[in-house]
Symmetry: C2
């Protein structure tokens, strides 16, 4: 399996040795030359910034979705929108790289050209998401949409378990406890009077939900493994290659699902101002996810999107006059305590 | 205030010195003579036993209530049943004492006679509960019965806060976090489709609910203070005096509320087999609560009754064909994690 290859390489230390070599050969950054304390602070600041960006972008994403639903049904092809998101992310990565090349010149770490050995793992996450999205069509035979929303919280558990198994990163006892109540708290916050239907899900539905959670968790953890494999490699190059394969897989999805519509009505048929906003938001959130993988990890990503879910609900009260349920308050309390426990429960 | 007096006495150390004196004067128990480890183990065993007893008794209590409701409406006077519970607890304490007097003889710690200074604080918990029960009639003007069940979980928070303030006992950060999610988890487990009504509770209802939670928490914490004030004092003597005042206050309640019914139809009118079982169960639970206060504390009591609530629901599935909701599973998960966090989060 691919991730095994990746891990073995990590273990024999080749890539790490490469990185140290690269660090020696280039001028150290200001932060690094200021000593450990300043480096830690810079790292912490960068980690906080990307986490905050992801939280804000994810919560505004959900708000845009509600807004677009209010505006009427989707007139555009979802597949072309997904392709546009990947293309925009690719373009943004190239723009960022062009600026870096201008300022720092082309180095081993920021050049776009790559080796087969480096690039071969990049299509995997996109392929995993594609399989997961295909399964999504079949699970609705067993579960309704609100039930699916509830079952999606299994992602939290699968991410934690795969993070432990594949990345071999440790969570403390307290952090595991925090992670379990994060899952329970998020689900509680989403409860509505019809949520109990999910308990009647047949076995096939449960199996598919668990497989989907594993695929999604695996894709996330695998992306982190790819990005962290060479820490000194510029994130924009890593993103570029991730998104190139995202474009390829989404192009295939257009051909399979929406070929006729695109040929007859054009690629951008049905796009409105809000569609463009959503594409922009998805692109920026996607980049924020990559940044979180680079400078933080999948656990931080899960916390960030969970808190975003709560923020969305609170903002929706003001924007759309939503009512918050008692379950939402209880779930939010549990999620908040989980965030607190995660932060005080660090492995020393 | 009474509790201040109590605390001052603790602080000047008289009672503790008395107790050490008493320990010296009498034959040491087997456990004590085996050294610290064995004493700790005996203490831990006793604490576990009383906690387990309280959990089992509390959960069977709730099951008896469901059973009696199915059997039809209450035919007996609730006030006479409450009085019977206090009388039975009193009698059981005396029986236990008689056995102890027989085996060990009468000592300073197990003699029934008392001083004004010792006994003067004993009516306070009973009086506090009486005030709380009176308020209960008024709160239903603002909240319905299921809403009141939800609001009763405020007791958990009030007990934690008063335990900290009055008994000056410390909980670690993790234990506080655990206590907050215990409250959220218990409430989540009790959610039903109409629970959201509680959010429409008017301000007066909230104020009354908070006052009732404080009264209930204060009564619990105060009872612990009374019982722990003289650790060597035999628990059965302490219980005897607590229950004597319980009988007095409940006798007053009979006269006020059910005087006519008792005079016309007799004290035990409407008692059935299940009524007798409930009285027996309440009496034993009451004694278990006292034991938990003596050998553990209010925090353990709250955990014990919370776990009992979950046990009741699970047992009801088998006994009465109840259905468990998704909220129940989520709440139970959170409560279980809370129990785990409380146990690993001990202040060192």
């Amino acid at each position: 399996m691919e991730y095994r290859k990746l891990k073995d390489q990590d273990e024999d230390g080749n890539s790490a040795a490469d990185d140290i070599e690269n660090l020696r050969g280039k001028p150290l950054s200001v932060a690094a030359s200021l000593g450990g304390g300043a480096v830690d602070r810079t790292k912490w600041k960068r980690k906080s910034m990307v986490t905050l960006a992801l939280t804000v972008l994810t919560s505004s994403q959900a708000i845009l979705i509600v807004w677009s639903k209010r505006a009427g049904k989707y007139e555009y092809s979802v597949t072309t929108a997904n392709f546009s998101v990947e293309a925009l992310k690719c373009a943004l990565s190239l723009v960022a790289l062009a600026r870096i090349w201008n300022n720092e010149g082309v180095t081993e770490d920021n050049r776009l050209s790559t080796t087969m050995d480096e690039v071969i793992v990049y299509p995997i996450p996109a392929a995993l998401y594609l399989v997961k999205n295909l399964l999504q069509y079949y699970i609705f035979a067993y579960v309704d949409a609100p039930g699916y929303q509830i079952l999606k919280n299994l992602n939290i558990i699968s991410t934690g378990v795969l993070y432990r198994i594949i990345l071999k990163r440790k969570l403390s006892e307290i952090q595991w406890a925090a992670f379990i109540i994060l899952c329970a708290g998020c689900t509680t916050a989403q409860l509505n009077p019809s949520s109990d239907h999910v308990l009647q899900t047949p076995l096939q539905g449960w199996v598919m939900a668990i497989v989907m959670a594993l695929l999604s968790g695996f894709a996330g953890v695998y992306t982190e493994a790819i990005i962290k494999r060479r820490p000194s490699r510029n994130i924009n190059v890593q993103n570029f290659w991730l998104y190139v394969f995202g474009m390829v897989f989404n192009a295939a999805a257009i051909v399979i699902q929406d070929f006729d519509a695109v040929v007859n009505k054009g690629f951008f048929h049905g796009y409105s101002f809000i569609t463009v906003l959503m594409i922009l938001n998805h692109a920026l959130s996607g980049i924020a996810v990559s940044m979180v993988m680079k400078y933080a990890d999948n656990i931080v990503k899960v916390y960030s999107t969970s808190v975003a879910m709560l923020l969305t609900a609170v903002v929706s009260v003001f924007l759309f006059g939503f009512h918050l349920s008692l379950a939402f308050f209880l779930g939010s309390t549990v999620v908040s305590v989980s965030v607190y426990l995660h932060s005080i429960g660090k492995v020393r």
